[in-house]
Amino acid sequence: MSFPILSLMLAIPAAAAVACLFLSPSTARWTALAATLVNLALGVVLWLSYDIGGAQWQFVEYAPLFGRFGWALGIDGYALLLIVLSVFLMPICIGASWQAIEKRVPEYMSAFLFTEVLMIGTFAAQDLFLFYIFFEAGLIPMFLIIGIWGGANRIYASYKFFLYTLLGSLLMFIAMLYMSITAATTSIPALMNYDFPPQVQTWLWLAFFASFAVKMPMWPVHTWLPDAHVQAPTAGSVILAGVLLKLGGYGFLRFSLPMFPEASAQLVWLVFGLSAVAVIYTSLVALVQSDMKKLIAYSSVAHMAIVTIGLFAFNAQGIEGAMMVMLGHGLVSGALFLCVGVIYDRLHTREISRYGGLAINMPRYALLFLLFTMASIGLPGTSNFVGEILSLMGTYQVSTTVALLCTTGIILGAAYMLYLYRRVVFGEIKSAEVAAMSDLSPRELWLLAPIAAAVLWMGVYPESFLAPMRKDTQILLARIDRARPAGDSLPTRGSGIVPAAHAETHAQGSAH
């Protein structure tokens, strides 16, 4: 066994989390920052030493510690990218809370570090129940983060978040028990190649769907998300939108598709139907929000729907696109919540109508906010464009109708994001308070600049992110291809364009 880097990545924040509880506020801040930066460094090492195109599971660790299940860790390309996303966002979250959190700082830092442990653990777990433990345990620190450091209605939001997600997960838990007994293994890689009878698959798929759909969140079980986002502190929102929402998509990718291919194909209509409703409905809801965080929260639901249609398109474009949307959305929505946090820290309101004309006194802020707004819309050159175009292309091959409906989400997305941007940044300065707001401090700039760089990187050279998961997508497709559903697109192979004619069209195209 090689160096247990994944265990180390779990141990460092866990140790720091415990240590923080006994430290003074300022030491706790620095400890948390140091721990998350070390983890970021380890994440970079992980990415660099990941052998693209090599073994499906790398950095594998196994220790049969717990009787019925074991300490089994290991990552493939999908897990790698999501772990990198997590460790990338964590130091930013700590930085975002540097001044915004004044009360009970040690506990706060500790809760965030525990969240980091649990997120990495969820992505790295190779044992069914180890996954469940990490997956479910994430509720505890998030419950505390929302409940202690949240806004006015934080208690309602924290309960709703906790109980909603718990109910979904418990049904999945029973399904996991059944799977581990029937297949006589708790190893996720083994289960990914185990064929359950199709009629059983349907039930198992629905149980997992109950959990992942809530986590995702999909319409109509998304209602916890706006509440949780609005009430959570800025960094809580960043982690919630940036990483925790990805657990649902990761779950579909890791469990629902490879373990229950027949059921996935059979119930594709359900996913497509809910996603199409989600895209249009939540986008329209986002359009009328007066609270900035709520608007971004609803936009997250719409973006996540693009993820689900891509995942269930059963082709490479769709699945890779979905992953790219997840990564891109993790960065962009995180950044947008940070942008909201920046002005919230100054004026202590999230009401859109209280702001206006920020471009005049906060030009640097306006610029970065514009970049993230455009990225959220999916402008070419930004991260979300790559994901959305791939995801929708994949869907288009399967279902023209769904692709058509979901593409309206891009237009509506442009509408609500631009409308938000116009109201907050353009126009006249509303009041003396707004005029007194200062531009980004160096700290805030340092928080947003790395995300901006990553967003552009993903938009301009997505290959860096597509390469690690290409082989995994091929393996996944080889596994689920036998169940591929017949879509309504019925693509027919073209008669083929003769090379000469193609060159001619091309020349015409460039002449325009």
Binding site: L65, I133, S158, L177
Partner: protein, 486 residues
């Protein structure tokens, strides 16, 4: 088989019985001044009883012509019972010293020892009469313990209520025993099992009698483990009894009664599994649901923990409903973890007192505890999340084990309904966490006792994720214990 061998197998009960009698004499002559010495000696006697379990007492088989069984199932339960009883003795002095009214008298540890002897008989019983004698010995001591604070009206009321309802339960159980004896012709578990196996239970007069006997015996046991619909006494008794006594009731007797129920179900009535399984499933689901729903409105933390214990018994019964060795092992696993969680919770309740040392029992008084006593709040939060079964705390593994057994036995609807109900339970556990962490502090509790603090820390460590490292040992032991019943 000679008497020496029989006595060697019952050595733990002998140790406890002699110890209790000797300490009673000390108490009679020594008076209140001897309390401390008697308490620590009693703890030593319990430790001695644990040591006495090594050897024939845990592996000897039948003793006294089949009336008593010394197997690893009994040994496992007894270890749990003795540890819980010892903790109940240790946590008492500080409580009684501070609380106005009655002082601790040396009878307290003696009564707990007698009760522990009775509980040992319960889990070792291989005959309905041994069972009954053990049960009564445990109960009679418990009735006195419940009303130990004679000048406190609630305590006296709790003792009386416990006695009246406990006597009713004993009557029901005895009636069931008489029916079973009448229709099977024996009180020995093995012969009863033979009679149940021989009778097809299809509707003739004899099978109806057997069925009635089974129902009444299970009703009596349900009373003792406070499973719905025989749970009514629990909140009142738990609320009224002195807190250390409540902690005792919620831990050791519960283990004993569950162990007794498991043994009766598997050994005496194993062939009638189809019949009692319905009863157990109903009691399990009803306990989980009622324990969860009724707890929501509670303002008193002891009442809340009473409903929590009803709720937890329901989960333990899910393992019994499976009726397999894995199921029984899961019940034992569940009870082990439950004892740690519940003793820890009550130890925290002991810390809830005002500046004068008088106990406070309202949940609202916990407000802001995470600011005033962060360590205590963290411990209680760990116990609450653990009782709710949220990973990564050890309470999750308890639920994991019972649901694993249920799914393995093919009881999917039971498992699904059980987990859905557990979400309701999570709500009120969260309420305590919310009160401690989200609300503003209202007052400060008096300083705690170092010994109790150490016990709380120990319980919190067991319940924390570190507990998972004990799983291989725990499952090996519980499976061995369960295997001795089949």
């Amino acid at each position: 088989m000679d008497y020496a061998a029989n006595l060697a197998m019952t050595l733990p009960e002998v140790v406890l019985g002699l110890g209790a009698i000797a300490l009673m004499l000390v108490a009679a002559w020594g008076g209140p001044a001897s309390t401390k010495a008697v308490s620590w000696t009693a703890v030593a006697v319990l430790a001695g009883a644990c040591v006495a379990l090594i050897g024939p007492a845990s592996s000897g088989g039948q003793a006294f012509y089949g009336l008593y069984r010394a197997d690893s199932f009994a040994a496992f339960s007894k270890v749990l019972i003795y540890v819980a009883a010892a903790v109940a003795i240790v946590m008492a002095p500080d409580f009684f010293r501070r609380t106005a009214g009655d002082n601790l008298r040396p009878e307290y540890p003696v009564l707990i020892l007698l009760s522990a002897a009775g509980m040992g008989m319960m889990v070792s019983a291989a005959d309905l009469l041994t069972l009954y004698v053990g049960l009564e010995l445990q109960s009679l001591a418990a009735y006195v313990l419940a009303s130990f604070m004679r000048q406190d009206q609630r305590s006296a009321e709790a003792g009386l209520k416990y006695f009246v309802l406990g006597a009713l339960a004993s009557g029901i159980l005895l009636y069931g025993i008489s029916l079973v004896y009448g229709f099977t012709g024996s009180t020995l578990f093995d012969e009863i099992a033979g009679a149940y196996a021989a009778a097809p239970l299809t509707g003739d007069a004899k099978s109806t009698g057997l069925l009635f006997g089974l129902v009444f015996v299970f009703a009596g046991i349900a009373f003792k483990i406070s499973a719905v619909p025989f749970h009514m006494w629990t909140p009142d008794v738990y609320e009224g009894a002195p807190t250390p006594v409540t902690a005792f009731f919620a831990s050791a007797p519960k283990v004993a009664a569950i162990g007794l129920g498991v043994r009766v179900a598997v050994e005496a009535m194993g062939p009638a599994e189809g019949q009692w399984r319905q009863i157990v499933i109903f009691a399990a689901l009803a306990s989980i649901l009622l324990g969860a729903v009724a707890a929501i409105g509670q303002q008193n933390i002891k009442r809340l923990l009473a409903y929590s214990s009803i709720n937890n018994v329901g989960f333990a019964l899910i393992g019994l409903a499976a009726g397999t060795p894995e199921g029984v092992a899961a019940v034992l696993t569940y009870m082990t973890i439950y004892v740690a969680m519940t003793l820890g919770s009550f130890l925290v309740v002991l810390q809830m007192r005002d500046a004068d040392g008088q106990p406070i029992e309202t949940i609202d008084s916990l407000a802001g505890l995470s600011r005033t006593r962060p360590g205590l709040a963290a411990a209680l939060a760990i116990f609450m999340f653990s009782l709710a079964g949220i990973p990564p705390l050890f309470g999750f593994y308890a639920k994991f084990a019972v649901f694993y057994a249920a799914v393995q036995a093919g009881l999917f609807p039971l498992a699904v309904v059980g987990v859905v109900f557990s979400v309701i339970g999570a709500y009120y556990y969260l309420r305590l966490v919310k009160t401690m962490y989200f609300d503003e502090p209202t007052g400060v509790f008096g300083e705690g006792d170092r010994l109790e603090g150490g016990l709380i820390a120990a319980a919190a460590v067991i319940v924390s994720p570190l507990g998972y490292l004990a799983i291989p040992a725990l499952s090996a032991w519980t499976l061995a214990a369960a295997a001795s019943l089949f």
